[in-house]
Amino acid sequence: MRVKSIVCVKRVPDTEARVRVAADGKSVDAAGAKYILNPYDEFAVEAALKHKEAAGAGEVTVVSVGNAASAETLRTALAMGADNAVLLKTDGRPEGLAVARVLAEELKGREFDVALFGMKAIDDDLQAVGPMTAELLDLPAVTAVTEFSWEAGKVTAHREIEGGHEVVELKTPCVVTLTKGAYEPRYASLKGIMAAKKKPLEEKAATVGDSPVEVRKLSLPAERQAGRIVGEGPDAVPELLRLLRQEAKVI
């Protein structure tokens, strides 16, 4: 079997990054931050590679909507083992439906069995672009997948739900979004990094439409006030419970 997948990946500020609100009060200033391949997208890339290896034949294409620096993120995925990459270039940082529309337009013109996404991007925390792209392409989708098997014409996915999981069967082509599970991402080998430099990376301008969401204001969360140390050791327990019951009224 020859398996063809497209993995949508996003360049995001590192989890340690200190983020500030920019002067306009409506955008994030992550200047100085290190950027990484979105961690959930690493699971998606790994899943695509594993399935290609298991099938013995296929192709893994990685696609990103972002600025010129996103080429670096695509190279990371190529170094892991993806075959080719497409950068849909824009200077803005579109989110949600605006990105899904760009991706859907690109995917429409391509042949694939499975389009893989991360469950969420850790910068906007939307958890939306995968299912939105599926809807725009009129494809079945499954989200928050920990593991899936792949036969000709069919994918069987394990999806995390509250208190358990669901087994979902999908006809291909379909959309699958990945969370942590069976696909612990590999590190790029030195050989992989060298090979990635020669792999095809196509760049073209993205046409980004208006977003149906307007950001009115961004702010930093109110700092939680450090509370009080009730005491030391087990003898402090009764006082803690008294406070939780009488002051906080939560138990």
């Binding site: 989890t15 994030v28 850790i122 809807e135 079945p140 928050a144 669901e166 950001v215 509370g227 009730v230």
Partner: protein, 327 residues
């Protein structure tokens, strides 16, 4: 007359707790806009009987769509029915729970409607007739005030944040025509495997007792399970990434940037240092308690109450005292 649409989630023939929360969130908007809450319940045959409790949560009308094809969730089937309902009926805003089902469904509905999607919101208000939502992003490092440019905004609300108050409405039940055919769906749920049927999920529990590397061994999590149980079915066990990576606990319990974002009324962090990626997942909890032997641990900087000391001594005592209290 349009109203506020609230999606009332069901599973296995029962209304889920988050359904009442979606109705409660819709209620606050309906009151601000002077309109009604219209709850929609989809499920297998017989689901209608469970619908009355939605009136108690604040629904003026409840629309019930029963179909054998809806015994289990179908993203495509649900999207088709909901979009049709919203188009025919009109609505000023559509509210879904930010549950695993809601986060799968609401983006599809928003995409089909071309509507603004406001995800995992922790507050909703109306400014000059427009719904403005508060949504934490970048794992809670940034708080956004966002609005949709067109109508209706499609909104998911974080579990445990909007609790039904003393705000009952009629909840008149009407049936909704749902002609869907499972054969048309490209994705079908074959099976639901419950971890432990009655086990509360960490994403939705009102109380979370979370453990980290300080527990020392996987067996010691028994201490936390005992404490959770002492709270009488209201608490779930959570975990830091360190113990999930070590294979002591399943990823479904992980709280933080690459785990779940939670907002319980009480979060008890035991043997967890309070790394930024962990705080990301739990800083919007109403009350935080930290138990740690290191008085300098960063977790104390966000905790409302703390006990410094050895968890092996503190936890058994706490379980004992909570049992007494609940008895």
């Amino acid at each position: 007359m349009p109203g506020i649409f609230a999606f009332a989630e069901t599973r296995d023939g029962e209304i889920r707790k988050v359904a009442g929360e979606a109705v409660a969130a819709a209620r606050t908007l309906a009151d601000a806009l002077g309109t009604e809450v219209h709850a929609v319940v989809l499920g297998g045959s017989g689901i209608g009987g469970a619908a009355t409790e939605l009136g108690a949560a604040g629904a003026d009308k409840v629309f019930v769509g029963e179909s054998d094809a809806f015994g289990k969730y179908s993203a495509e089937g649900y999207t088709a029915v909901i979009v049709k309902f919203i188009r025919e009926h009109g609505c000023d805003a559509a509210i879904f729970p930010a549950s695993s089902l809601g986060k799968d469904l609401a983006p599809r509905v928003a995409a089909r409607l071309g509507a603004g999607y406001l995800a995992d919101c922790t507050a909703l208000e109306v400014q000059d007739g427009t719904v403005v939502a508060t949504r934490p992003q970048a794992s809670g490092k940034i708080i956004g005030q966002v609005a949709a440019t067109g109508k209706p905004p499609v909104i998911t609300v974080r579990p445990n944040v909007f609790l039904p108050g003393d705000n009952a409405r009629g909840g008149d039940v009407q049936s909704l025509d749902v002609s869907v055919n499972e054969a048309d769906f490209g994705a079908v749920v074959r099976e639901i495997k419950a971890g432990a049927a009655e086990k509360l999920d960490v994403g939705e529990a009102p109380i979370i007792v979370a453990g980290g590397r300080g527990l020392g061994t996987p067996e010691n999590f028994k201490l936390l399970e005992d404490l959770a149980e002492a709270f009488g079915g209201k608490a779930a066990v959570g975990a830091s990434r360190a113990v999930v990576d070590a294979g002591w606990r399943p990823h479904s319990e992980q709280v933080g940037q690459t785990g779940k974002t939670v907002a319980p009324t009480l979060y008890i962090a035991v043997g967890i240092s309070g790394a930024i990626q962990h705080l990301a997942g739990m800083r919007t909890s109403r009350y935080i308690v930290a138990i740690n032997k290191d008085p300098e641990a960063p977790i104390f900087k966000v905790a409302d109450y703390g006990i410094v000391g050895d968890l092996h001594q503190i936890l058994p005592r706490m379980t004992e005292e909570v049992r007494k209290m609940m008895a």
